[in-house]
Amino acid sequence: MRLSIEQIVEGYSDYLLRIAYIYVKDKRYAEEIVQDVFINFYKKQDQFREQSSLKTYLTKMTVNRSYDYLRSWKSKKELLFERVGFKGNSKDSERLLMESEEKMELTKAVLQLKIKYREVILLYYFGDYSIEEIAQLLHTPNSTIKSRIQRARNMLKEILQQSDLEVLINGNE
């Protein structure tokens, strides 16, 4: 049964917003990305052959779109301003979000990771994908994903220990 676009937006927009946010670290751009993803999906929904679930398909689109943003001049400009010491608009919004939500400690810690570690942590813990699914989604070997998850856990552990959150991630997940 095909869902209407209203149902799809209602069902997946928040989930995709979180995915995009973890990639681009900026709520405003994340919102734009999600909007683009839905528009593209709506235009090209005939191409969706239901070989994977709709959630996976939309996640893949969001990941690709987020990478497009990260490669774009807009993103690099923000990064440059941040390094030079200027606060770009987007970083303001990120800061505001963080300030308004004091309880975002774990997200802050995840955002400190490099993108390649951030994305595996995101897809594994937040997206509930298996290692094989992540490997397929990112076109990366299983072993690489495993090692990245392991390293990301260790890094997270260090970051969270520094911020008084006794962690975690030694576990058997």
Binding site: Y21, V34, M104, L106, V110
Partner: protein
């Protein structure tokens, strides 16, 4: 905190702090619907701009060249005198150059025909292959020696302008052979979606219409691939080098132009069928 705790807490954290309001969701839905109703196609302006830029630049240079009388008229009327100065009027030198280039052209043509994979099963290729065997090489060399006699006679009869024309034609033929050599292992372009091979006419029309081309069979949109653009552009420097060399030796500009047009015609009508390849997505220029 165990890993599962982290997972649950992080999810809860994201769920509570990152979400669209109902109003934002409604706005997204409205934008999606309006984007579908808005049928204006946003073209890829970069290609058109680059193409138009080069055309204008080309026209500009042609106009400058035509208005520069010292270039065109001198080369037209005084071309032979320039060649006098560098002592190329001697019939023997003309004969030597024309003869060597002719022999080289014939040899290159034979090699190209033999090495072209898509002609392997043609009957006429088999005949050429038979005569290209080692035991017939002395015969070929004998033929080359025989060729020297008519060449020498004709060179002595013709005026300098016709000798220049002859040489330019040989260079054009060499250029064509070079183009054929470049595509010796290439196959005719096919649709990336359904794999059907395009007809020559279809490829010709598509080579001049890079946008909004569709496969006739599956009706899917197709685009020129970056590799085909690179392949096409990598062939031309050699051709332009030959024109430059001809220009350097003060060959008449109309002859060089004729050679350029001849090679362009061959490229557009035949070579591009094999250099072009298509992709499903619009790829960047490089």
């Amino acid at each position: 905190m165990e890993m599962n705790d982290f997972k649950e807490k992080w999810k809860k954290e994201l769920d509570t702090n990152l979400q669209f309001t109902q109003q934002e969701k409604t706005q997204i839905i409205n934008k999606i619907v309006s984007s579908q109703n808005n049928k204006i196609h946003k073209g890829n302006w970069a290609y058109n701009t680059v193409l138009a830029g080069f055309t204008i630049l080309g026209l500009f240079f042609i106009m400058i060249t035509l208005s520069d009388r010292s270039f065109t008229l001198n080369t037209m009327t005084l071309g032979s005198r320039h060649l006098d100065e560098i002592e190329f009027t001697s019939n023997f030198y003309w004969f030597l150059i024309i003869y060597i280039l002719t022999v080289f052209t014939i040899t290159a043509l034979i090699f190209t025909i033999i090495k072209t994979t898509r002609w392997e099963n043609k009957k006429w290729i088999l005949y050429i292959k038979i005569y290209a065997e080692r035991k017939y090489v002395p015969l070929l060399i004998f033929f080359y020696f025989l060729l020297a006699i008519p060449t020498f006679l004709v060179v002595n009869i013709l005026q300098i302008l016709f000798l220049q024309l002859w040489l330019v034609l040989i260079v054009s033929a060499l250029n064509c052979i070079y183009l054929l050599w470049c595509i010796r292992n290439s196959e005719q372009a096919a649709c990336p979606h359904c794999g059907c091979q395009f007809s020559s006419r279809k490829i010709f029309s598509m080579s001049w219409n890079a946008y909004r081309t569709k496969c006739d069979k599956c009706n899917e949109r197709i685009f020129h691939s970056t590799s085909s653009k690179k392949k096409n552009s990598s062939m031309f420097p050699v051709l332009f080098l030959t024109y430059f060399i001809l220009g350097f030796f003060q060959f008449p500009f109309p002859f060089i132009l004729m050679s350029f047009l001849l090679n362009s015609l061959v490229f557009n009508l035949y070579i591009s069928k094999f250099t072009m390849s298509f992709s499903k997505e619009d790829e960047p220029l490089w």
